[in-house]
Amino acid sequence: MFSRAARSWVLRTTGGGLGTRGTHSPGGSARSQGKMASYYTNHYAQRSYPMPDEPYCTELTAEQQALKEKEKGSWAQLSQEEKVALYRLQFRESFAEMNRRSSEWKTVMGCVFFFIGLTGLLIWWQRVYVFPEKPVTLTDERKAQQLQRLLDMKSNPVQGLASRWDYERKEWKK
């Protein structure tokens, strides 16, 4: 019970954030006349929490209140538009609207690539101005001598380095 209240609080605060990212509002004369819950006191439904605690429109016009009274009776007597109006009173977005995709991934990927590039520039600068001289063992001549020694001692002769060297012809195997 406590966890549900806490979860509801979390969803209220994140729901406010979700709300600010929303795009067009679903049209409907019933909704525009009712008072809309402000962003900070009513969270919106998500796929993981589809039934919010409070309805979307809390202050209803007389027309909407009449509709709510009619809702208390048999639902078969409601017309299609009335059902949709009741849904819009209760929920801010339909499932299709709630689950729409966004272009956020483009922003994310753009920022990721930007910072990777920036990091590349920083590392380049570091290599030029910070790194000390390379040790002598990393010159090509010394590296060749080390490789020759590895081949002489036949390191990894079964599947590894020395298995790729042709000892008769003194060259790498094709």
């Binding site: 299609q80 059902k83 002489d152 001692m153 036949k154 002769p157 079964v158 599947q159 298995s163 000892y167």
Partner: protein, 75 residues
């Protein structure tokens, strides 16, 4: 809502269906990966070692290394 236009969606057993799908899939993937490793890596390696040691002459190998001058204890 126009009744009769849509088929009734599945209401029950959704978790069981998902679990069955994923358990079967995970089993197949695990067994497949194991078989691929056994034949692609393990058997290959066993064959490579068997081929290498079938006609291996360790004294000849040692003489070659000695002539190359890598040992400290002998020339």
């Amino acid at each position: 809502m126009a009744s009769g236009a849509l088929a009734k969606p599945q209401m029950r057993g959704l978790l069981a269906k998902r679990l069955r799908f994923h358990i079967v899939g995970a089993f197949i993937v695990a067994v497949g990966v194991a078989c691929a490793y056994k034949f692609g890596v393990a058997e290959q390696r066993k064959k490579a070692y068997a081929d290498f040691y079938r006609n291996y002459d360790s004294m000849k190998d040692f003489e070659e290394m000695r002539r190359a001058g890598i040992f400290q204890s002998t020339k």
